[in-house]
Amino acid sequence: MSAIELAGLSIEGPRGPLVHGIDLSVEAGEAIGIVGESGSGKSLTLRSIIGLLPRGVRVSAGQVTTSGRLGMIFQDPLSALDPLTTVGKHVIEICRHVRGMSRAAARARAVELFTEVGLPDPEAKLRSYPHQLSGGQRQRVVLAVALAAEPEILLCDEPTTALDVTVQAQVLALIETLRRERGLTVVFVSHDLAVISQVCSTVAVMQAGRIVERGPTAEVVTEPRHPYTRSLIDAVLEVPRPDAPASDAAADLNAPRTEGDVR
Protein backbone atom coordinates (compact mmCIF):
# COMPACT_ATOMS: atom_id res chain seq x y z
CA MET A 1 0.00 0.00 0.00
CA SER A 2 1.22 3.47 -0.83
CA ALA A 3 2.33 5.75 1.96
CA ILE A 4 1.97 8.81 -0.28
CA GLU A 5 -0.13 9.22 -3.38
CA LEU A 6 -0.02 12.35 -5.54
CA ALA A 7 -2.70 12.26 -8.23
CA GLY A 8 -2.73 14.97 -10.89
CA LEU A 9 -1.23 17.43 -8.44
CA SER A 10 -1.08 21.00 -9.72
CA ILE A 11 0.29 23.91 -7.70
CA GLU A 12 -0.30 27.53 -8.53
CA GLY A 13 1.36 30.73 -7.35
CA PRO A 14 0.32 34.38 -7.70
CA ARG A 15 1.96 34.52 -11.15
CA GLY A 16 0.58 31.28 -12.54
CA PRO A 17 1.02 27.50 -12.47
CA LEU A 18 4.20 26.08 -10.90
CA VAL A 19 3.55 22.33 -10.84
CA HIS A 20 1.60 20.76 -13.71
CA GLY A 21 -0.48 17.73 -12.76
CA ILE A 22 2.09 15.28 -11.44
CA ASP A 23 1.41 11.70 -10.36
CA LEU A 24 3.67 10.01 -7.86
CA SER A 25 3.13 7.12 -5.53
CA VAL A 26 5.57 6.21 -2.77
CA GLU A 27 5.49 2.78 -1.13
CA ALA A 28 5.73 2.45 2.65
CA GLY A 29 9.37 2.04 3.74
CA GLU A 30 10.69 3.34 0.42
CA ALA A 31 13.26 6.14 0.12
CA ILE A 32 12.51 8.29 -2.90
CA GLY A 33 14.53 11.26 -4.09
CA ILE A 34 13.14 14.21 -6.01
CA VAL A 35 15.93 15.91 -7.93
CA GLY A 36 15.73 19.13 -9.92
CA GLU A 37 17.09 22.64 -10.19
CA SER A 38 15.82 25.80 -8.50
CA GLY A 39 12.36 26.52 -9.82
CA SER A 40 11.62 22.92 -10.84
CA GLY A 41 8.85 22.66 -8.24
CA LYS A 42 10.53 19.92 -6.19
CA SER A 43 10.30 21.73 -2.84
CA LEU A 44 6.70 22.86 -3.48
CA THR A 45 5.75 19.27 -4.27
CA LEU A 46 7.32 18.14 -0.99
CA ARG A 47 5.65 20.93 0.98
CA SER A 48 2.24 20.19 -0.51
CA ILE A 49 2.45 16.73 1.10
CA ILE A 50 2.53 18.27 4.58
CA GLY A 51 0.42 21.34 3.74
CA LEU A 52 3.25 23.84 4.22
CA LEU A 53 3.02 25.81 0.99
CA PRO A 54 4.23 29.43 1.14
CA ARG A 55 1.68 32.23 1.33
CA GLY A 56 -0.06 32.81 -2.00
CA VAL A 57 0.79 29.35 -3.30
CA ARG A 58 -1.95 26.69 -3.37
CA VAL A 59 -2.87 23.29 -4.71
CA SER A 60 -5.04 24.15 -7.72
CA ALA A 61 -5.96 20.65 -8.85
CA GLY A 62 -5.42 17.01 -7.98
CA GLN A 63 -5.08 15.19 -4.70
CA VAL A 64 -2.51 14.46 -2.04
CA THR A 65 -3.20 11.33 0.02
CA THR A 66 -0.96 10.18 2.83
CA SER A 67 -1.26 7.30 5.23
CA GLY A 68 0.87 7.79 8.30
CA ARG A 69 2.10 10.61 10.50
CA LEU A 70 4.40 13.13 8.83
CA GLY A 71 7.65 14.69 9.99
CA MET A 72 9.80 17.17 8.13
CA ILE A 73 13.38 18.43 8.24
CA PHE A 74 14.67 21.52 6.49
CA GLN A 75 17.80 22.89 4.85
CA ASP A 76 18.53 25.42 7.57
CA PRO A 77 18.20 23.84 11.01
CA LEU A 78 18.79 27.17 12.76
CA SER A 79 15.62 28.71 11.34
CA ALA A 80 13.64 25.57 12.23
CA LEU A 81 14.50 25.96 15.94
CA ASP A 82 13.36 28.66 18.37
CA PRO A 83 16.55 30.50 19.44
CA LEU A 84 15.12 31.28 22.92
CA THR A 85 14.14 27.70 23.74
CA THR A 86 16.53 24.94 24.79
CA VAL A 87 16.83 22.12 22.28
CA GLY A 88 15.62 19.69 24.95
CA LYS A 89 12.39 21.64 25.39
CA HIS A 90 11.72 21.48 21.64
CA VAL A 91 11.57 17.68 21.88
CA ILE A 92 9.90 17.50 25.32
CA GLU A 93 7.02 19.77 24.25
CA ILE A 94 6.20 17.53 21.30
CA CYS A 95 6.37 14.38 23.43
CA ARG A 96 4.00 15.97 25.97
CA HIS A 97 1.51 17.68 23.69
CA VAL A 98 1.52 15.43 20.64
CA ARG A 99 2.22 12.09 22.35
CA GLY A 100 0.51 13.00 25.66
CA MET A 101 3.44 11.93 27.84
CA SER A 102 4.07 13.06 31.41
CA ARG A 103 6.85 15.58 32.03
CA ALA A 104 9.25 12.92 33.32
CA ALA A 105 8.46 10.43 30.56
CA ALA A 106 8.87 13.16 27.92
CA ARG A 107 12.25 14.10 29.33
CA ALA A 108 13.41 10.48 29.31
CA ARG A 109 12.15 10.12 25.73
CA ALA A 110 14.08 13.25 24.71
CA VAL A 111 17.29 11.70 26.04
CA GLU A 112 16.53 8.52 24.08
CA LEU A 113 15.90 10.48 20.89
CA PHE A 114 19.07 12.55 21.30
CA THR A 115 20.96 9.28 21.76
CA GLU A 116 19.31 7.78 18.69
CA VAL A 117 20.32 10.71 16.45
CA GLY A 118 23.89 10.52 17.75
CA LEU A 119 24.16 13.71 19.79
CA PRO A 120 27.13 13.48 22.16
CA ASP A 121 26.33 13.81 25.89
CA PRO A 122 22.53 13.80 25.35
CA GLU A 123 21.59 14.56 29.00
CA ALA A 124 23.62 17.76 29.05
CA LYS A 125 22.57 18.71 25.50
CA LEU A 126 18.92 19.03 26.64
CA ARG A 127 19.86 22.34 28.27
CA SER A 128 21.72 23.77 25.26
CA TYR A 129 20.33 26.56 23.11
CA PRO A 130 20.46 26.19 19.31
CA HIS A 131 23.26 28.75 18.90
CA GLN A 132 25.48 26.72 21.22
CA LEU A 133 25.51 23.76 18.83
CA SER A 134 27.35 23.18 15.55
CA GLY A 135 25.43 22.96 12.28
CA GLY A 136 25.57 19.17 12.24
CA GLN A 137 24.39 18.93 15.85
CA ARG A 138 21.50 21.31 15.09
CA GLN A 139 20.39 19.16 12.16
CA ARG A 140 20.47 16.14 14.51
CA VAL A 141 18.27 18.06 16.95
CA VAL A 142 15.82 18.90 14.13
CA LEU A 143 15.72 15.18 13.30
CA ALA A 144 15.03 14.35 16.96
CA VAL A 145 12.21 16.93 17.01
CA ALA A 146 10.72 15.37 13.87
CA LEU A 147 11.06 11.86 15.33
CA ALA A 148 9.42 12.91 18.63
CA ALA A 149 6.02 12.83 16.92
CA GLU A 150 6.79 9.22 15.90
CA PRO A 151 6.30 9.88 12.18
CA GLU A 152 5.93 7.12 9.62
CA ILE A 153 6.89 9.44 6.78
CA LEU A 154 9.94 11.72 6.88
CA LEU A 155 10.05 14.61 4.42
CA CYS A 156 13.55 16.02 3.85
CA ASP A 157 14.04 19.37 2.09
CA GLU A 158 17.78 19.62 1.19
CA PRO A 159 18.65 18.73 4.80
CA THR A 160 22.41 18.47 4.22
CA THR A 161 23.04 21.33 1.78
CA ALA A 162 24.21 23.70 4.52
CA LEU A 163 26.46 21.12 6.21
CA ASP A 164 30.15 20.30 5.86
CA VAL A 165 30.86 17.23 3.73
CA THR A 166 31.97 15.00 6.59
CA VAL A 167 28.91 16.02 8.61
CA GLN A 168 26.72 15.59 5.54
CA ALA A 169 27.94 12.01 5.16
CA GLN A 170 27.10 11.33 8.83
CA VAL A 171 23.59 12.82 8.59
CA LEU A 172 22.86 10.88 5.37
CA ALA A 173 23.99 7.67 7.06
CA LEU A 174 21.76 8.51 10.04
CA ILE A 175 18.69 9.03 7.83
CA GLU A 176 19.37 5.66 6.17
CA THR A 177 19.69 3.95 9.58
CA LEU A 178 16.42 5.52 10.80
CA ARG A 179 14.64 4.43 7.62
CA ARG A 180 15.82 0.85 8.06
CA GLU A 181 15.25 0.55 11.80
CA ARG A 182 11.95 2.41 12.02
CA GLY A 183 10.62 1.44 8.61
CA LEU A 184 10.27 5.13 7.75
CA THR A 185 9.13 6.24 4.33
CA VAL A 186 11.59 8.94 3.20
CA VAL A 187 11.06 11.63 0.58
CA PHE A 188 14.35 13.46 -0.03
CA VAL A 189 14.50 16.62 -2.14
CA SER A 190 17.84 17.89 -3.48
CA HIS A 191 19.44 19.60 -6.45
CA ASP A 192 22.36 17.21 -6.09
CA LEU A 193 21.89 13.83 -7.73
CA ALA A 194 25.05 12.51 -6.04
CA VAL A 195 23.56 13.13 -2.58
CA ILE A 196 20.24 11.53 -3.58
CA SER A 197 22.04 8.48 -4.96
CA GLN A 198 23.53 7.91 -1.50
CA VAL A 199 20.14 7.61 0.23
CA CYS A 200 17.37 6.84 -2.23
CA SER A 201 16.63 3.61 -4.10
CA THR A 202 14.13 5.43 -6.32
CA VAL A 203 14.46 8.83 -7.93
CA ALA A 204 12.04 11.20 -9.67
CA VAL A 205 13.53 13.92 -11.87
CA MET A 206 11.61 17.19 -11.98
CA GLN A 207 11.97 19.92 -14.56
CA ALA A 208 9.79 23.03 -14.80
CA GLY A 209 6.96 21.59 -12.72
CA ARG A 210 6.85 18.16 -14.34
CA ILE A 211 8.30 14.75 -13.53
CA VAL A 212 10.31 13.89 -16.64
CA GLU A 213 11.72 10.56 -15.47
CA ARG A 214 11.25 8.17 -12.59
CA GLY A 215 12.82 4.84 -11.78
CA PRO A 216 15.27 2.90 -9.63
CA THR A 217 18.20 5.24 -8.90
CA ALA A 218 20.83 2.80 -10.19
CA GLU A 219 19.02 2.52 -13.54
CA VAL A 220 18.31 6.22 -13.92
CA VAL A 221 21.94 7.06 -13.18
CA THR A 222 23.43 4.49 -15.56
CA GLU A 223 20.81 4.57 -18.32
CA PRO A 224 18.91 7.86 -18.24
CA ARG A 225 16.08 7.99 -20.76
CA HIS A 226 15.36 11.71 -20.69
CA PRO A 227 17.91 14.22 -22.05
CA TYR A 228 17.38 16.45 -19.01
CA THR A 229 18.35 13.59 -16.68
CA ARG A 230 21.43 13.04 -18.82
CA SER A 231 22.41 16.70 -18.40
CA LEU A 232 21.96 16.47 -14.60
CA ILE A 233 24.21 13.40 -14.52
CA ASP A 234 26.83 15.08 -16.70
CA ALA A 235 26.84 18.05 -14.33
CA VAL A 236 27.99 15.93 -11.38
CA LEU A 237 31.75 16.32 -11.09
CA GLU A 238 33.54 13.21 -10.01
CA VAL A 239 35.86 13.05 -7.01
CA PRO A 240 38.44 10.30 -7.58
CA ARG A 241 38.79 7.58 -5.00
CA PRO A 242 42.31 7.39 -3.57
CA ASP A 243 44.34 4.21 -4.17
CA ALA A 244 45.51 3.60 -0.62
CA PRO A 245 43.16 4.55 2.19
CA ALA A 246 44.79 5.73 5.41
CA SER A 247 43.73 3.44 8.24
CA ASP A 248 42.87 5.82 11.05
CA ALA A 249 40.72 8.22 9.02
CA ALA A 250 37.50 7.43 10.87
CA ALA A 251 39.09 7.86 14.28
CA ASP A 252 40.52 11.21 13.27
CA LEU A 253 37.07 12.56 12.41
CA ASN A 254 36.03 12.24 16.03
CA ALA A 255 39.00 14.21 17.29
CA PRO A 256 38.16 17.57 18.87
CA ARG A 257 37.95 20.41 16.41
CA THR A 258 36.83 23.99 16.29
CA GLU A 259 33.13 24.14 15.51
CA GLY A 260 31.24 27.03 14.05
CA ASP A 261 31.61 29.21 11.02
CA VAL A 262 34.21 31.95 11.06
CA ARG A 263 33.35 33.35 7.65
Binding site: E37, G135, A169, S197, T217, V239, P242, P245, V262
Partner: protein
Protein backbone atom coordinates in the same frame (compact mmCIF):
# COMPACT_ATOMS: atom_id res chain seq x y z
CA UNK B 1 43.96 21.53 -16.03
CA UNK B 2 46.99 23.73 -16.56
CA UNK B 3 50.51 22.62 -15.96
CA UNK B 4 51.85 24.19 -12.82
CA UNK B 5 55.18 25.93 -12.96
CA UNK B 6 56.33 24.33 -9.75
CA UNK B 7 59.64 23.25 -11.24
CA UNK B 8 60.59 26.89 -11.78
CA UNK B 9 62.72 28.36 -9.06
CA UNK B 10 61.38 31.86 -9.64
CA UNK B 11 59.67 33.93 -6.97
CA UNK B 12 56.09 32.73 -6.48
CA UNK B 13 53.31 35.03 -7.67
CA UNK B 14 51.78 34.89 -4.21
CA UNK B 15 53.19 33.72 -0.94
CA UNK B 16 51.49 33.47 2.42
CA UNK B 17 54.12 33.36 5.15
CA UNK B 18 53.55 32.47 8.81
CA UNK B 19 50.05 33.92 8.80
CA UNK B 20 48.25 34.27 12.12
CA UNK B 21 44.80 35.83 12.35
CA UNK B 22 42.63 36.56 15.38
CA UNK B 23 39.07 37.75 15.73
CA UNK B 24 39.26 39.56 19.06
CA UNK B 25 40.89 37.20 21.54
CA UNK B 26 40.19 34.10 19.45
CA UNK B 27 42.97 33.07 17.15
CA UNK B 28 41.53 31.28 14.11
CA UNK B 29 44.60 30.92 11.87
CA UNK B 30 47.73 29.53 13.51
CA UNK B 31 50.80 30.21 11.37
CA UNK B 32 49.88 29.25 7.82
CA UNK B 33 52.37 29.29 4.92
CA UNK B 34 51.95 28.32 1.28
CA UNK B 35 52.99 29.55 -2.16
CA UNK B 36 51.18 30.02 -5.45
CA UNK B 37 53.25 29.93 -8.65
CA UNK B 38 52.30 32.24 -11.51
CA UNK B 39 49.80 30.62 -13.86
CA UNK B 40 48.77 27.92 -11.42
CA UNK B 41 45.60 27.24 -9.47
CA UNK B 42 45.95 26.44 -5.79
CA UNK B 43 42.90 25.10 -3.98
CA UNK B 44 42.42 25.75 -0.28
CA UNK B 45 39.98 23.15 1.00
CA UNK B 46 38.50 22.77 4.45
CA UNK B 47 35.26 22.69 6.41
CA UNK B 48 33.55 25.54 8.21
CA UNK B 49 35.77 26.91 10.92
CA UNK B 50 38.95 25.77 9.18
CA UNK B 51 40.04 29.36 8.50
CA UNK B 52 40.05 29.10 4.71
CA UNK B 53 37.80 32.11 4.13
CA UNK B 54 39.77 34.11 6.72
CA UNK B 55 42.89 33.52 4.64
CA UNK B 56 41.08 34.67 1.49
CA UNK B 57 40.07 37.86 3.30
CA UNK B 58 43.64 38.53 4.39
CA UNK B 59 44.93 38.02 0.84
CA UNK B 60 42.20 40.36 -0.41
CA UNK B 61 43.27 43.00 2.13
CA UNK B 62 39.94 43.00 3.97
CA UNK B 63 41.49 41.77 7.19
CA UNK B 64 44.78 42.50 8.96
CA UNK B 65 46.76 39.48 10.16
CA UNK B 66 48.14 39.57 13.72
CA UNK B 67 51.40 38.09 12.46
CA UNK B 68 52.94 36.96 9.19
CA UNK B 69 52.78 38.44 5.72
CA UNK B 70 51.33 38.11 2.25
CA UNK B 71 53.87 38.59 -0.56
CA UNK B 72 52.93 39.43 -4.13
CA UNK B 73 55.77 38.73 -6.57
CA UNK B 74 58.17 38.79 -3.62
CA UNK B 75 56.99 42.09 -2.09
CA UNK B 76 55.27 42.09 1.27
CA UNK B 77 51.88 43.74 1.03
CA UNK B 78 51.11 46.69 3.25
CA UNK B 79 48.11 48.99 3.18
CA UNK B 80 46.23 48.51 -0.06
CA UNK B 81 46.94 51.10 -2.71
CA UNK B 82 44.75 51.40 -5.78
CA UNK B 83 47.35 49.39 -7.73
CA UNK B 84 47.29 46.57 -5.17
CA UNK B 85 43.50 46.46 -5.11
CA UNK B 86 43.62 46.16 -8.86
CA UNK B 87 46.27 43.40 -8.74
CA UNK B 88 44.30 41.18 -6.36
CA UNK B 89 40.69 40.59 -7.36
CA UNK B 90 38.11 38.54 -5.51
CA UNK B 91 35.05 36.61 -6.69
CA UNK B 92 32.70 35.87 -3.79
CA UNK B 93 30.25 33.06 -3.11
CA UNK B 94 27.10 35.12 -3.45
CA UNK B 95 27.17 37.26 -6.59
CA UNK B 96 23.88 38.90 -5.60
CA UNK B 97 25.28 40.53 -2.50
CA UNK B 98 28.54 41.53 -4.20
CA UNK B 99 26.87 43.46 -7.03
CA UNK B 100 25.27 46.87 -6.49
CA UNK B 101 21.52 46.31 -7.09
CA UNK B 102 21.04 49.89 -8.34
CA UNK B 103 23.64 49.70 -11.10
CA UNK B 104 23.36 47.99 -14.46
CA UNK B 105 26.17 45.68 -15.50
CA UNK B 106 27.60 48.24 -17.89
CA UNK B 107 27.56 50.93 -15.20
CA UNK B 108 29.50 48.65 -12.82
CA UNK B 109 32.12 47.73 -15.42
CA UNK B 110 32.42 51.23 -16.93
CA UNK B 111 33.01 52.80 -13.52
CA UNK B 112 35.85 50.37 -12.80
CA UNK B 113 37.46 50.89 -16.21
CA UNK B 114 37.21 54.68 -15.74
CA UNK B 115 38.46 54.88 -12.15
CA UNK B 116 41.41 52.59 -12.80
CA UNK B 117 42.05 54.19 -16.22
CA UNK B 118 42.21 50.79 -17.94
CA UNK B 119 41.18 52.02 -21.41
CA UNK B 120 40.55 55.47 -22.92
CA UNK B 121 37.03 56.78 -22.31
CA UNK B 122 35.94 56.30 -25.91
CA UNK B 123 36.75 52.60 -25.74
CA UNK B 124 34.93 51.82 -22.48
CA UNK B 125 31.68 50.57 -24.02
CA UNK B 126 33.62 48.40 -26.46
CA UNK B 127 35.75 46.94 -23.68
CA UNK B 128 32.60 46.12 -21.67
CA UNK B 129 31.24 44.19 -24.66
CA UNK B 130 34.55 42.31 -24.93
CA UNK B 131 34.33 41.36 -21.26
CA UNK B 132 30.81 39.94 -21.80
CA UNK B 133 32.21 37.92 -24.66
CA UNK B 134 35.03 36.67 -22.47
CA UNK B 135 32.60 35.26 -19.86
CA UNK B 136 30.21 34.08 -22.62
CA UNK B 137 27.30 36.33 -21.82
CA UNK B 138 25.22 38.04 -24.53
CA UNK B 139 25.87 41.79 -24.90
CA UNK B 140 22.25 42.41 -23.86
CA UNK B 141 23.26 41.56 -20.29
CA UNK B 142 25.16 44.87 -20.13
CA UNK B 143 21.94 46.84 -19.68
CA UNK B 144 20.45 44.48 -17.08
CA UNK B 145 20.27 44.98 -13.33
CA UNK B 146 21.59 42.14 -11.13
CA UNK B 147 18.05 41.09 -10.08
CA UNK B 148 17.18 40.46 -13.74
CA UNK B 149 19.96 37.88 -14.06
CA UNK B 150 20.12 34.23 -13.00
CA UNK B 151 22.61 33.11 -10.35
CA UNK B 152 24.97 31.71 -12.98
CA UNK B 153 24.79 34.92 -15.04
CA UNK B 154 25.49 37.05 -11.96
CA UNK B 155 28.56 34.97 -11.15
CA UNK B 156 29.79 35.44 -14.73
CA UNK B 157 29.33 39.19 -14.32
CA UNK B 158 31.33 39.03 -11.08
CA UNK B 159 34.10 37.19 -12.94
CA UNK B 160 34.02 39.79 -15.74
CA UNK B 161 34.27 42.57 -13.16
CA UNK B 162 37.33 40.92 -11.59
CA UNK B 163 38.99 40.35 -14.98
CA UNK B 164 38.27 43.92 -16.13
CA UNK B 165 41.20 45.09 -14.04
CA UNK B 166 43.70 42.56 -15.39
CA UNK B 167 44.55 41.20 -11.94
CA UNK B 168 47.82 39.46 -11.13
CA UNK B 169 45.90 37.06 -8.93
CA UNK B 170 42.27 36.03 -8.69
CA UNK B 171 40.89 34.85 -5.35
CA UNK B 172 37.71 32.81 -5.81
CA UNK B 173 35.92 32.17 -2.51
CA UNK B 174 33.40 29.34 -2.96
CA UNK B 175 32.52 30.76 -6.39
CA UNK B 176 29.94 28.08 -7.21
CA UNK B 177 28.58 27.05 -3.79
CA UNK B 178 25.39 29.09 -4.11
CA UNK B 179 24.57 27.68 -7.55
CA UNK B 180 22.64 24.63 -8.70
CA UNK B 181 24.87 21.66 -9.55
CA UNK B 182 24.22 22.01 -13.30
CA UNK B 183 25.08 25.74 -13.25
CA UNK B 184 28.15 25.07 -11.08
CA UNK B 185 29.56 22.95 -13.85
CA UNK B 186 29.27 25.67 -16.50
CA UNK B 187 30.85 28.33 -14.26
CA UNK B 188 33.73 25.99 -13.39
CA UNK B 189 34.26 25.17 -17.06
CA UNK B 190 34.41 28.90 -17.77
CA UNK B 191 36.98 29.49 -15.00
CA UNK B 192 39.09 26.58 -16.29
CA UNK B 193 39.02 27.97 -19.85
CA UNK B 194 39.88 31.49 -18.72
CA UNK B 195 42.69 30.17 -16.58
CA UNK B 196 44.19 28.35 -19.55
CA UNK B 197 43.72 31.04 -22.19
CA UNK B 198 44.69 34.02 -20.02
CA UNK B 199 47.26 32.23 -17.87
CA UNK B 200 45.45 33.36 -14.73
CA UNK B 201 46.82 32.65 -11.28
CA UNK B 202 43.96 31.57 -9.01
CA UNK B 203 43.55 30.86 -5.31
CA UNK B 204 40.37 28.83 -5.09
CA UNK B 205 38.71 28.51 -1.69
CA UNK B 206 36.21 25.67 -1.48
CA UNK B 207 34.74 22.99 0.74
CA UNK B 208 33.95 20.91 -2.33
CA UNK B 209 36.60 18.46 -3.49
CA UNK B 210 34.87 18.02 -6.86
CA UNK B 211 35.41 21.73 -7.52
CA UNK B 212 39.03 21.51 -6.36
CA UNK B 213 39.61 18.46 -8.57
CA UNK B 214 38.21 20.24 -11.64
CA UNK B 215 40.48 23.27 -11.39
CA UNK B 216 43.50 22.94 -9.16
CA UNK B 217 47.16 22.03 -9.66
CA UNK B 218 47.85 22.07 -5.95
CA UNK B 219 45.72 21.34 -2.89
CA UNK B 220 46.17 22.92 0.53
CA UNK B 221 44.02 21.22 3.17
CA UNK B 222 43.11 23.26 6.25
CA UNK B 223 41.65 22.17 9.54
CA UNK B 224 41.06 24.30 12.64
CA UNK B 225 43.36 27.08 11.42
CA UNK B 226 46.28 24.91 10.37
CA UNK B 227 47.48 23.31 7.15
CA UNK B 228 47.31 19.53 7.44
CA UNK B 229 48.40 18.80 3.88
CA UNK B 230 49.95 20.68 0.93
CA UNK B 231 50.28 18.40 -2.10
CA UNK B 232 50.18 18.39 -5.88
CA UNK B 233 46.60 17.71 -7.01
CA UNK B 234 47.49 14.38 -8.62
CA UNK B 235 49.23 13.08 -5.51
CA UNK B 236 46.45 14.41 -3.29
CA UNK B 237 43.64 12.63 -5.14
CA UNK B 238 45.64 9.43 -5.71
CA UNK B 239 47.11 9.04 -2.23
CA UNK B 240 46.38 11.77 0.33
CA UNK B 241 48.99 11.92 3.07
CA UNK B 242 46.88 13.18 5.94
CA UNK B 243 44.16 11.01 7.54
CA UNK B 244 41.93 14.09 7.59
CA UNK B 245 42.34 14.49 3.80
CA UNK B 246 41.39 10.83 3.48
CA UNK B 247 38.29 11.43 5.61
CA UNK B 248 37.28 14.39 3.41
CA UNK B 249 37.72 12.27 0.28
CA UNK B 250 35.70 9.43 1.81
CA UNK B 251 32.85 11.78 2.71
CA UNK B 252 32.61 13.45 -0.70
CA UNK B 253 29.22 12.61 -2.25
CA UNK B 254 29.65 10.55 -5.38
CA UNK B 255 27.09 9.43 -7.90
CA UNK B 256 26.42 5.85 -6.80
CA UNK B 257 26.27 3.47 -9.74
CA UNK B 258 28.35 5.49 -12.15
CA UNK B 259 31.73 4.00 -13.08
CA UNK B 260 34.41 5.66 -10.94
CA UNK B 261 36.76 6.39 -13.83
CA UNK B 262 34.48 8.87 -15.65
Amino acid sequence: MSTASQSRTSIPRLEVRGLQVSYGATRVVHGVSFAVQAGSVVGVVGESGSGKTTIARVIAGELEPSAGAVLLDGHALGPRTRELRRAIQVVYQDPFSSLNPRMTVVQVLAELLRVHKIVPRAQIRGRCAELMDLVRLPASVLDAYPRQLSGGQRQRVAIARALALGPRILVADEPTSALDVSVQRTVLDLLADLQRTLGLTIVLISHDLAVIHRLCDRVVVMRAGEIVEDSGAQEFFAAPRSPYSQALLDAAPRLAGRPADL
